[in-house]
Symmetry: C2
Subunit: 237 residues, 2 copies
Amino acid sequence: MRGYDKYAFEPFAVTVDLAVFTVRAGELQVLLVERGQAPYAGRWALPGGFVLPHESAETAARRELAEETGIVDVSGLHLEQLRTYSEPGRDPRMRVVSVAFTALVPDLPEPRGGGDAAQARWLPCGGAGALAFDHDRILADARERVGAKLEYTCLATSFCPPEFTLGELQQIYETVWGTALDRPNFRRKVLATPGFVEPVPGAARLTGGRGKPAALYRAGPATTLHPPLLRPEGRPS
Amino acid sequence: MRGYDKYAFEPFAVTVDLAVFTVRAGELQVLLVERGQAPYAGRWALPGGFVLPHESAETAARRELAEETGIVDVSGLHLEQLRTYSEPGRDPRMRVVSVAFTALVPDLPEPRGGGDAAQARWLPCGGAGALAFDHDRILADARERVGAKLEYTCLATSFCPPEFTLGELQQIYETVWGTALDRPNFRRKVLATPGFVEPVPGAARLTGGRGKPAALYRAGPATTLHPPLLRPEGRPS
DNA sequence: TCAAAAGTGTTTACCTTACACCCATGG
DNA sequence: CCATGGGTGTAAGGTAAACACTTTTGA
């Protein structure tokens, strides 16, 4: 930040790209938009857009998230900066530096069309062929981060509806990690972490009709897990 | 990345800021430059500069690191993207989006003047008063990240010279975390992690003259620590 | 011979794992 | 009464913390 001259810099476009994940149908799915025009016409891409002059990247990401998902109150959602992608040539048209964000949302209704022409859809990770630009890379980075975050943070509850059963929470972990977990041990670990989940007094839900009704829980105030909930065989990352 | 028009965006300046840490004199120190002109004239700031048209942010950061530290071969150094700071108004002159990086280097000789007029110096974290711009925030974020990274990666060896003793490695941890560690247990944990350190055959160093000579080790090929080396009382970050 | 620093051994407590078992509900 | 999923108990193995102890050097 020295040798500063207001007019001596190359103009860069600054954008945000969003990797919005959900768990539905027993799969980790990501929100994608289909590109209408070149380059990469017809290919799927991560939603995103320009950072406006008065916005921070975080504000822009939250605005785009609201536009693409149709969620009205986007203020409570977990949105985390992933990293910034700045390779020259990552967009063939011009120099674009993109700040990527990751968001985890519950299983929502199919997204409405959104503020833009392009159609937004939930698709399984890896089920959309090669993505536009360097979005395959961004998606891979985001997916890896999400898996790691479940180990030492309480973020898994972000995938759940406001009230959920421990079985549902366990399925989040199993889906994201792609591994089976021991139910009794999972249960103990979650309940042994203060503030991870709080019981909803008296409530119970019949899960799938069959079986014993399960107690309902809400996300608690804790944000980090001590001790962490490690993946079996775990090479985190 | 829709509604794309090459000329419809506000021009942003894109810069990199570097939080370069070292451990010297039993302290965690950071590389700072003194600002010559307004704004924040006379204040200390993190080194950094513009991303040039042909560069990625990573390349720019590596170039700045070489310029500021005088290290000739900067290619092997660990340089990691921290996050991007994009608040409007973080630079009073214009819209500047800055990609922050963290680097860990061994105890180097005092930096040469560097390619720029400003003097670069190692200063203890927090010993330079209020930094320019939002660099206090960036430095705090970087410091927190470094502390957390020591827990589950092999990065501590980046602070060490090519050959080091386990006592020196332990001092890195104790300095960065600000806690004392049990030597026998530290030793066992480090040696029990395959690829963290490798013995230098036959070599030994007399540390401080007194005491038994210590065996020398080199950094091994491993990058992550399984299991992690947790801080005592640890709320990791 | 003492202080200082490296290195080894051992005990104890805790945590995780694996798995057996009981409970409640629908078909 | 059986299948299904929720929930509890427990014994065995491994990891980590605490600390006593030995070794090798300089003063």
